[in-house]
């Protein structure tokens, strides 16, 4: 019997998604059911240098025709992909029926267009005087808000928020709050594609964060592997849809850098469960942050043990699509919802010798999760957790 609280929880009524497998929900669902390998040496201009290349998964070209040529020429990759996933989610949720003033947009991610900026800086290095005036508004992250609200009738509000690799899940939390509070009728949470340049890639490698092969929770893991991705989720007051946001939490643990915090993760998990009003043993499925970082994965497993979640099924979506950084939490929440509505759980690629063999690693089986816990953590001590529930039958 669903509680009155669950019945008033915001519904995810529309989804749009892009990963290295391509664009659209059906493409992503198929990739989760039968994951192939999309990783290779990254090829985009500005993402490799003469003396440095990086492994990762890059998107195919965005679908043409969404933006006019006039707007397209001043729009970077992050923007092109944002309008593609937003258009899919918009149509899925039939947002044309909602008054524009009652629609909000929260974009998760900061410094999302670093590679575009690098390319512009390289182009104008010897001719600064002729720098394009377009850059004067494009360099703001919030240019994505301007782009999206100029293309779609969103007139409630729009802003970007930064939470490093937790940005996407944080955007969903803010969108859910905006709907729950009545500020808007529908709110789009968009995990923006983090368009890394070789500077960020090299720094993440120097930091010891970026590895060579994506194998979360395997004994042989050596860091995360980047994967371009983006998604948009429409939060509404009522269904139909893919599931509900039953509860969420967002806390600071006091670390400045990349160090994970066991206490911070456990606290976020417990707060999200309390917000949802459900017990740890009621969680059917956990979609962890699971980057493939040696210390990060160990810490997360310890947090799951301490929070009493070792009974739940678990898999790591980053093993298939890579780490989308700003977008990761929003795209992985889409993976959660597609698995819940599709009655299956995807395998974890490259998981040969799990660091925690006693956990219930999914392997592509049929499974009907009714409740799921999604975790996302960000550099700078940011810990987020979100409880998703299936819609009542």
């Amino acid at each position: 019997m669903p509680s009155a609280k669950a019945e008033s929880a915001p519904v995810i009524s529309g989804i749009g998604v892009a990963t290295a497998f391509g664009y659209g929900v059906s493409t992503f669902r198929q990739a989760l059911r039968q994951p192939g390998n999309r990783f290779g040496v990254m090829q985009r201009p500005g993402r490799h240098a003469s003396d440095a290349t990086f492994p990762g998964a890059e998107l195919p070209d965005p679908p043409a025709g969404i933006l006019s040529a006039r707007i397209a020429r001043t729009t970077g990759l992050t923007g092109h992909v944002a309008v593609a996933v937003l258009q899919e989610a918009w149509r899925d949720a039939n947002l044309d029926r909602v008054a524009p003033e009652k629609i909000g947009l929260v974009i998760g991610g900061s410094n999302t267009q670093a590679r575009e900026h690098l390319l512009i800086q390289q182009s104008y290095a010897a001719k600064l005087h002729f720098l394009s005036p377009q850059y004067g508004h494009r360099f703001f992250d919030s240019d994505l808000c301007g782009l999206c609200t100029s293309v779609f009738p969103i007139r409630g509000f729009a802003y970007t928020l930064g939470g490093a690799s937790a940005s996407g899940l944080l955007a969903v939390q803010h969108a859910a709050d905006a709907v729950r509070s009545g500020r808007v009728e529908a709110c789009i949470a968009l995990g923006a594609l983090q368009d890394l340049s070789y500077f960020e890639c090299q720094a993440l490698r120097s930091l010891g964060a970026m590895g060579s092969v994506c194998r979360p929770f395997d004994q042989g893991r050596d860091g995360f592997v980047f994967g371009e991705c983006s998604s948009a989720l429409v939060l509404s007051r009522s269904g139909p849809g893919y599931g509900r946001v039953l509860g969420a939490a967002h806390i600071a643990d006091g670390n400045r850098g990349p160090e994970p915090s066991l206490q911070g993760e456990v606290r976020a998990i417990r707060m999200a469960l309390a917000d949802a009003g459900i017990a740890a043993e009621e969680i059917d499925y956990v979609n962890p942050h699971g980057t493939g970082s040696p210390l990060g994965d160990d810490t997360e497993v310890a947090a799951l043990r301490e929070a009493g979640l070792t009974h739940a099924r678990i898999n790591a979506t980053k093993s298939i699509i890579g780490h989308g950084l700003s977008a990761a939490g929003a795209v992985e929440l889409v993976a959660v919802l597609l698995q819940m509505t599709g009655g299956f759980l995807h395998p974890t690629r490259n998981l040969e010798n799990p660091i925690a063999p006693d956990l219930h690693w999914a392997n592509g089986e049929s499974f009907q999760a009714r409740t799921a816990l999604k975790l996302s953590f960000g550099f700078g001590g940011i810990n987020t957790a979100l409880v998703a529930g299936a819609l009542e039958a």
């Binding site: 006039r70 020429r73 002729f130 394009s132 005036p133 377009q134 004067g136 508004h137």
Partner: protein, 81 residues
Amino acid sequence: MDTTSILAIITENIRAVVPDLSETSITASDTMSQLGLDSVERQEVVMLTLEAIGLEIPLVQLRGPRTIGDLAELLHAKREG
């Protein structure tokens, strides 16, 4: 480089910035506002033209001209200046 050549460069840049105008006839008596360019696009056309003709001057010196013909004449004068 004469005024006519500069006008041709301006016209080419207007069409680069606003591809919708590729089939529209553009003459010296048109203003960029009338052609539908917004303020950032107008500034970008000026900047692309300065780059194309190799003229490095403060933009404040280019305030005033209304039509693209006037702009071409002013740029020509600055370049010869």
